[in-house]
């Protein structure tokens, strides 16, 4: 009895010690999360209720920042541009990454070199990429206009980044070369490799066309990967838009605020106008927008994503 009791206590103690060890290993991450993620979010919420300026002067003003925001023309413009930019970037980068992955999926010679060149632009930092394309898309001194002029024999001076008809074309073209697109391509490639060959063979026997095979076999089988890439694409567009758009369009999102996403407006309000309180309120809205996008994607995925189990 005594022996059985001591064995029971020892097992309980062992379990407790094991759990303690596990929690201790989680502590470093938890401290990091608390200090560098949770605390800044709570601090941001608190500052959004003040009229804090960059020089530190701050008074509590309740929800005045939010009220002013919802009456502000600049905010609504940025809100619309952010949604537009995020949705379009997510769609075109996902499609482009899938196309590249499918091209790489063909068994051909020098596949590794193709993969290297497809991925190479993605390792360039967004800011450097943006400045490089700013030079390419320049009006009077741009490389693209010079190339077109050379080919056509006439003086072409398209104002790619300042003309309302061409700015979105230029900006979305540049998003195809960002790190996120390259990363998506690799993930798609991995997903495509996992599609069972037998399904394609069965489709061939049934006489399915390439498009039909893609639609009924490839797409459903890689739908979890598409969901993952859509979510990361969305987050990347929301978070990474600043590094791309600031060098191209400045804090005002020229031309005519057409590229002034919320992250640019936050930067402008915080660091040019010194309105840290108002910028924090804008950040809260951006945070909620990101949450909404994530929730929406997961709701849509319930009907469209196929899981084998």
């Amino acid at each position: 009895m005594k022996h059985a009791k001591s064995v029971g206590v020892s097992a309980k103690q062992r379990k407790f010690h094991n759990n303690l060890t596990a929690y201790l290993f989680c502590v470093p991450w938890a401290i990091g999360f608390l200090c560098f993620t949770l605390f800044p979010i709570i601090f941001m919420l608190q500052v959004s209720l003040t009229n804090r300026k960059l020089n530190g002067i701050s008074n509590f003003i309740g929800f005045a920042n939010y009220i002013n925001m919802f009456h502000s023309d600049s905010f609504w413009n940025s809100f619309k541009v952010t949604i537009f930019f995020t949705v379009i970037t997510m769609i075109i980068t996902t499609i482009w990454a899938m196309i590249l992955a499918m091209l790489l999926n063909y068994k051909q010679r020098l596949n590794g070199i193709f993969q290297f060149f497809y991925f190479l632009p993605s390792v360039i930092p967004s800011v450097a990429l943006a400045y490089a394309f700013r030079t390419i898309f320049g009006k009077d001194a741009g490389l693209l206009n010079a190339l077109i002029s050379m080919i056509t024999g006439s003086n072409v001076a398209v104002n790619w980044l300042y003309d309302s008809h061409t700015v979105y074309l230029a900006v979305f073209f540049i998003t195809l070369f960002t790190y996120n697109t390259g990363q998506m391509m690799l993930i798609f490639r991995s997903g495509l490799n996992d599609v069972p060959r037998e399904l394609y063979e069965a489709s061939d026997i049934d006489g399915a066309s390439a498009f039909w095979k893609f639609r009924t076999v490839t797409l459903p089988m890689i739908s979890p990967v598409v969901l993952f890439n859509a979510v990361t694409g969305c987050i990347s567009a929301l978070n990474g838009s600043f590094a791309l758009l600031y060098p191209l369009a400045g804090e005002n999102g020229d031309p005519n605020r057409m590229t002034q996403v919320l992250s640019l407006l936050i930067y402008k309000e915080a660091f040019s106008n010194m309105k840290v309180g108002y910028a924090s309120a804008l950040s809260v809205v951006l945070f909620l927008l990101a949450c909404c996008f994530g929730i929406l994607i997961f709701i849509v995925s319930k009907k469209t994503v196929y899981y084998e189990n």
Partner: protein, 436 residues
């Protein structure tokens, strides 16, 4: 047994990792650290280090500024300040694009690393009100700095603050730069210091060679306001700090729109090339500091004039104010350095290096700001005339407001909105922002 040893090792590792993370977080969040433990010898050594560092700190001040000191030692005013005062001036260069926001953050966190801030016009009032900088009145009473000899606009800027918080390091202005060769080739009389705006518009049109040369470059973020002020708008109301633009802005934006449409001015674009320096534009409105940049580097004959006179002779003055950080531990040494920099020698060196006149009239009259290399310039009076007519206008407004307004004006030049709408939008945004 082995299992127990393994579990023990894991616990020790987990505890060590947690301790490391906690320590690094605490170290990152801490401000200054005073060492107070150790042996008697260690304490004595620490006291010696503290004493020597105090004395060496007293012989050294840190100054923040947005441009690099002159590479020529004779024209490096900070190096010369050291020779004159025995105090080393450690210059911290902060990029211009981040300068104001960085200084604001330093004030907000009570940063004591810098002793002297060179503060922009729109920050002087903010820093004074948040007690980030100290009044200099007591120091000035015992000083030789000629505060009664400042140009009028400088004295006006300090009104309403109650005390003198900063001393102007120079007085830069805005000028018309023109290509003399192009004017002679087109047989147009050269611009003078009372050249009318109508003459400017006519000359710009005549000098344009479509597809090759523009009559004038587009106004930049500074000279937009010179055009708007010249058209009669107040721009900055010092009584309440608001932006005041209206019919003058509409008129000037409309003129620029017409010139862009006619090919006399280039359309706004992402190109950053200097068309005037490249010989692709006959005229340009720019800051006086560009004289030093151009000097003898342009391969054509060029000169300067005051900006053309529209309804009012107007240009914006630009300066920075030497101020003392309220958290500085070397205030006396900091003022000694400022006293040198504001003296005849310091101001003369600054003028020679930057090409900007001193804000002290008697020193400016000596003409040290005339850049030696700019041998083609005959009309040096343009600088002094511009100074006399200059005012601190848009520079007293938040940069986000003025940059937003320029963005609206550029949208009007592209035909994306009417000039009137652009001015309305700019004013609306300014109202939302100023007085926050």
């Amino acid at each position: 047994m082995c299992g127990r040893v393994l579990i023990m090792k894991k616990r020790i590792l987990a505890a060590f990792l947690s301790l490391t993370v906690v320590s690094s977080v605490l170290a990152g969040c801490s401000s200054s650290v005073a060492s107070s433990s150790g042996s008697a010898a260690d304490m004595k050594s620490a006291a010696n280090v503290a004493a020597s560092s105090k004395s060496s700190r007293g012989d050294k001040v840190t100054l923040t500024v947005w441009n690099e000191p002159d590479s020529n030692d004779d024209l490096n005013m900070y190096l010369q300040a050291k020779k004159a005062t025995g105090i080393t001036v450690d210059v911290t260069v902060i990029p211009e694009s981040d300068y104001s926001s960085k200084l604001n953050q330093m004030i907000s966190t009570g940063d004591s690393s810098a002793d002297i801030y060179v503060v922009w016009e729109n920050d002087l009032r903010n820093f004074a009100q948040s007690n980030g900088i100290i009044p200099l009145d007591d120091y000035l009473k015992k000083s030789s700095i000629k505060t009664d000899d400042f140009i009028g606009a400088v004295s006006k800027l300090s009104e309403g603050l109650g005390h003198t918080y900063g001393l102007p390091w120079c007085a830069a202005t805005e000028l018309l730069y023109y290509n003399r060769d192009m004017f002679k080739a087109a047989n147009i009389s050269l611009p003078t210091n009372d050249w009318s705006y109508a003459n400017f518009l006519a000359a710009a049109k005549k000098l344009t060679q479509k597809g090759k040369v523009y009559g004038c470059t587009l106004p930049n973020t500074q000279t937009w306001w010179a055009g708007i002020g010249g058209a009669g708008d107040q721009i900055y109301d010092p009584s309440n700090g608001y932006m005041v633009i209206g019919d003058g802005a509409v008129s000037f934006v409309t003129d620029c729109y017409n010139m862009v449409k006619a090919g006399v001015m280039p359309a706004p674009s992402s190109d950053t090339a200097d068309l005037f320096a490249a010989g692709k534009a006959a005229m340009s409105w720019q800051g006086s500091w560009t004289i030093g940049t151009y000097a003898d580097k342009l391969n054509f004959d060029w000169d300067i004039a005051t900006l053309p006179v529209n309804k009012v002779k107007y240009n914006t003055l630009h300066t920075g104010f030497y101020t003392i950080n309220s958290k500085s531990k070397n205030k006396d040494a900091a003022f000694k350095v400022i006293e040198y920099l504001m003296g005849e020698e310091g101001q003369t060196i600054n003028s020679k290096s930057s090409g900007n006149p001193s804000a002290i009239k008697s020193i400016a009259d000596e003409g040290a700001w005339k850049v030696d290399g700019a041998k083609t310039i005959k009309n040096w009076n343009a600088v002094t005339d511009s100074l006399a007519a200059g005012t601190f206008g848009y520079v007293c407004l938040p940069s986000g407001v003025t940059n937003n307004a320029v963005s609206e004006f550029n949208a009007a030049l592209q035909g994306q909105k009417t000039p009137k709408k652009a001015v309305e939008k700019a004013s609306q945004y300014a109202k939302e922002t100023i007085g926050y």
